[in-house]
């Protein structure tokens, strides 16, 4: 089969609502969205606190956090594998090779991105707000809440960036998920597997969907930012 035929077959799979294809897409979205939400739950407040609180070693913490934005997925996958494997400290949870393990691993991968970008966004806004908030005697919790809220459109872009990273990575989920057909197979792991097997139509179909998804995420980020500019000045 040549490349043109592979491409046509790929579109047939997509348009024909191929169950195997859509099962993989569904799991991928579930894992990546869940991981992004989990990472946001810890990354947003952590980033805001780093922006507002001064403590010894803060500079080094920020450097490490920024560096962790580029964590290699396979290294995160390996670390999570060691943690979750039967002999590891979290082995008793029995999560290895489950979607839950994939969510946890992707959350670890994405959290530094969300925290680091949140810190920068909130710190910039804090420079602007500091005098007013101090004069209004807004307490630490109120400051964090107000800054996160007022930076919400910028932070939405941050979350979308985190989601993009989660959806596109393959190394982490391959290691902790095991790429088990119908259970832990995601778009990226399926593309890697099907390509190695020579089943190019499915790999191409998944690739098209993955790229479309990433374009859609970026379009959403642009729309969110525009909406923010219009409605908050």
């Amino acid at each position: 089969m040549n490349a043109t035929q592979d491409g046509v077959s790929a579109f047939d799979l997509i348009l024909g609502c191929d169950p195997a294809l859509y099962s993989v897409i569904g799991l991928s979205l579930t894992v990546s969205v869940s991981a992004t939400l989990l990472a946001a739950a810890s990354g947003l407040p952590l980033g805001a606190l780093l922006a507002l609180v001064r403590f010894p070693g803060r500079g080094m913490t920020v450097i490490v956090l920024n560096a962790f934005m580029g964590l290699p997925p396979v290294v995160v996958g390996l670390a999570m594998y060691l943690l979750l494997s039967r002999s590891g400290p979290l082995g008793f949870l029995g999560l290895l090779f489950t979607p839950q393990a994939m969510i946890l691993a992707q959350a670890v991968l994405v959290m530094p991105i969300i925290a680091a970008l949140t810190r920068q966004t909130v710190e910039d806004l804090w420079v602007e707000y500091r005098d007013e908030m101090t004069a209004m005697q807004v307490g630490p919790v109120g400051r964090v809440a107000a800054l996160l809220w007022d930076a919400r459109f910028s932070l939405m872009t941050t979350l979308l960036a985190g989601f993009g990273r989660a959806a596109a990575e393959v190394g982490t989920v391959m290691i902790v998920g095991g790429n088990i057909d119908g259970f832990t197979r995601t778009m990226t792991t399926a593309i890697a597997l099907e390509t190695s097997k020579g089943d190019l139509p499915l790999a191409i179909g998944l690739g098209i969907v993955l790229i479309a998804l990433i374009v859609a995420v970026n379009a959403a980020a642009a729309v969110v930012r525009r909406f923010g500019e219009l409605h908050t000045g």
């Binding site: 007013e132 004069a135 107000a146 908050t232 000045g233």
Partner: protein, 240 residues
């Protein structure tokens, strides 16, 4: 219910402020008591804004003593401040006031009415839904005033509240200030606009190079200043 403790008078005794080896305020003594508006005047760099920030509690003295309501505490929430370039929160006009209101003592059920009243007082009733950062300069100053008043202050500090505004916008802001002063809120504001000082001041504090050179009633200051520097300033001469 215990009555809130009064912030007034604010007594500043021989206070100096130094930062990075530079003296910003030197041996300043002043009493801000209830009554007519107190206006700080003087050339740029005289220390007017720093004295406002000090009295508000945004700046700490390196020497001297500050008493509020006869106590040395820096707490209390019945002070409000309007900055020369107020920052608008990235929210609607009404949400800006609501944010300040949540820091005050207004009961949740009364907030909507209070927001409407404050926006009406500031002449912004028709602009409640507009993003605050889209307001004109004069409207932003009035919103900053509404936000400050949302805290139900006993004393209101204003740092050049009409700087760079046209006459109509200046009058709108001054009208609110006069109205608030008439309602019993102590007004303390800094300006280098002598016309504005004459229109509003009940008491004048004249500052030069971080020192209070003269403190008197507005009538006696403008009719016969006690220092040559004040006279020169009133004459429009350069006072450095």
């Amino acid at each position: 219910m215990r009555a809130p403790s009064s912030e007034l008078p604010i007594t500043i005794e021989d206070v100096s402020v130094r930062t990075a080896g530079v003296t910003i305020l030197e041996s300043v003594s002043l009493v801000l008591a209830p009554g007519a508006p107190t206006v700080l005047i003087g050339p740029n760099g005289a220390g007017k804004s720093s004295l406002l920030r000090l009295a508000m509690g945004l700046l700490s003295p390196t020497a001297g003593l500050i008493m509020r309501g006869g106590h040395r505490t820096s707490g209390g929430d019945r002070r409000a401040f309007v900055f020369q370039r107020p920052v608008m929160l990235r929210r609607s006009v009404a949400a800006n006031v609501a944010f300040a209101l949540r820091r005050g003592a207004t009961a949740r059920r009364d907030r909507a009415d209070r927001i409407a009243a404050l926006l009406d007082q500031a002449g912004l009733a028709a602009l409640g839904a507009r993003p605050a950062q889209r307001l004109s300069g004069g409207e932003q100053r009035r919103l900053a005033l509404a936000r400050a008043l949302a805290r139900d202050p006993e004393i209101l500090f204003l740092d050049e509240p009409t700087a760079n505004l046209d006459p109509a916008a200046t009058k709108a802001v001054e009208d609110i200030i006069v109205q608030v002063a008439a309602a019993g809120v102590k007004i303390v504001f800094a300006t280098h606009d002598l016309g504005e000082a004459r229109r509003i001041a009940g008491e004048v504090v004249f500052m030069v190079r971080g020192r209070v050179r003269e403190s008197a009633s507005a009538r006696s200051f403008f009719n016969g200043p006690a220092t040559q520097e004040a006279q020169a300033f009133l004459n429009g001469d350069l006072v450095i």
